[in-house]
């Protein structure tokens, strides 16, 4: 495999999606000090999005500034992306593992005649192969796979890798090569987009990070500090049964035996004692953090990290620190 890694850019309005910036960080690590990361963007306004690559240190960007891709399925980018990877001399393609990226990985793997993996949480070069680790069975186990062969396509789980952070470099845009793209692949058309009813924030079912509040939060109006921490982390908000029973949040927020089971990368339990009925719903999370002012609370037995303190002081401090670290 060569040292050139291609990152496929996902559009987010006029800019690049955050998941793409995370993918750049991953690609840079894979490429190593001697390797190169090249970007690819498709759709109208692609040239403007290409600037997003340069801002985080990817100077060479191949662009298919073609309105046909604007409302087309992500999977339709397979052949253009494969042709681009060939042109750029890349043998590995990395994408953010969003709905965009996950729809594209399979078709790209076939178009590029590559081995593939979706939603990886760790990866590394290993001789002439790429080794990946990913969660399986709803996070109850992990597997490691070796992608052998000359080419590989990988999507990385969002919010798992740090986003690339520059330094910015000058942008050199090239036209992406043309390829045989049957009109049929562009047949499906997106006609409208409706923002999520709950106004932002990932859904509990898919979120990579969940912040849950329990009885310790004390009152419904104080739940705002949970929302703020979740927003800073890009996390979904959950709740213990005590909270939903009391009506502070709707039942759909309940994590636990009679609510939802979640298995995010990170679960932050705030003011939750750790009764078995709640723990059953979140114990397969990869990392569990507990914040509770009772150091003997059972939650600390299942958590990986614990802070025994006043959540009304700890949580805002944590929110501020996360914002600082994420540069917001």
């Amino acid at each position: 495999m060569s040292d050139t890694i291609l990152v496929v850019g996902e559009p987010d309005g006029p800019a690049l999606a955050e998941a793409t910036v995370e993918a750049v960080g991953v690609a840079r690590q894979l490429a190593g000090p001697a390797g190169t990361v090249v970007g690819f963007v498709a759709g109208s306004g692609a040239a403007a999005r290409a600037a997003g690559f340069a801002a985080v240190g990817v100077g060479r960007v191949l662009v298919a500034d073609d309105p046909r891709f604007d409302q087309a399925p992500p999977a339709a980018l397979a052949r253009p992306a494969a042709a681009t990877a060939e042109q750029a001399g890349a043998s590995v393609v990395v994408l953010g593992g969003t709905t965009f990226g996950r729809d594209l990985v399979g078709s790209l793997a076939v178009a590029f005649r590559a081995a593939a993996a979706n939603g990886v949480t760790e990866l590394e070069r290993s001789g002439d192969a790429v080794r990946v680790r990913r969660p399986v069975f709803s996070g109850r186990a992990t597997e490691e796979r070796r992608l052998t062969g000359p080419r590989a396509v990988v999507s990385v789980r969002p919010h798992t890798f740090p986003p690339a952070n520059g330094p910015a470099v000058p942008l050199a845009v090239e036209a992406a090569p043309s390829c045989d793209l049957p009109a049929a692949l562009l047949g499906p058309t997106r006609t409208a987009v409706a923002a999520a009813a709950q106004g932002g924030g990932p859904s509990l079912a898919d979120a990579a990070i969940v912040v849950s509040g329990g009885r310790g939060v004390g009152a419904p109006e104080k739940f705002a500090i949970i929302d703020a921490l979740a927003a800073s982390l890009g996390a979904a908000v959950g709740a213990s049964r005590a909270v939903t029973d009391a009506g502070w949040r709707p039942a759909s927020f309940q994590v636990g035996q009679t609510g939802r089971t979640v298995s995010p990368q990170l679960y932050v339990a705030v003011g939750i004692s750790g009764a078995i009925q709640h723990v059953i719903g979140m114990v397969s999370s990869r990392v569990i953090v507990a914040i509770n002012n009772d150091a003997t609370a059972p939650i600390f037995r299942v958590a990986d990290y614990g802070i025994a303190g006043d959540l009304f002081e700890i949580v805002p401090a944590l929110t501020a620190e996360v914002r600082r670290v994420r540069g917001k």
Binding site: A114, A195, E313
Partner: protein
Amino acid sequence: MEIVVCVKPVPEAESRLRANGAGTAFDPEGVKFVLAGYDESAVEQALLLKQAAPGSRVHAVALGPPGRTDEVLRASIALGCDSATAVTADVPAFHDPVATARELAEAVRGLGKVDLVLFGKHAGDDEEGLVGSAAAEALGLPFVGFVVDLRHDAGRLRFRRSVERGEETWEAPLPLAVGLQQAWNDPRTATLPAILRSRKAPIARRASGPPDAAAGSSVAERFALPPPRQGAKMIEFKSPQEAAEKLVRLLREEAKVFP
């Protein structure tokens, strides 16, 4: 409409997860394989479309050793699929998904004219979710995943797609390949008489072909359950700010869970 649903046998939800002796792969010994959850929705969606367009047929396809494929194909027939094909391949449960996709595409190609190919969003075991998009490319079909509420109306499909920021509305001509997240109804339960009939239903068989050697492969190397939790590492702090800083640093550097 001629509809094909590709289904995968996966370990049933309550299965005890174990690695094989070498720790390289999931150990299927003693595990019961059932229809994957999202595949149940895909079958349900296919059957709803069939009901709405009389004269339509639904064909189920699965890949794997007969001991795994036959039960889920019979379950699909019991639910209402008209016919089924088992692609015989002596592969492990966590097989290379791109190779699987190529085989399924070959099997679908062998079925003649097809209007719609449905896949579940992902299988509950490996959760790769890339077989649908890969098989579609191998078949030269357009593919849209994360589909919710798929409807057919005079030769065109209308559906929604569930994405991070909300929901998209889509329209597509036939033929199409779809990764289904949710049908417009909950999956039905097969009745006892249908189950009894499905036990005697014929299943077409085809052998799998040689893999595409030039394409490389994805090989399982390790399968591991997380070590049992030992109890929290309690963070010592003199101020809330110190607690926050220490926690964020531990999450980034030690736990490698980037906040």
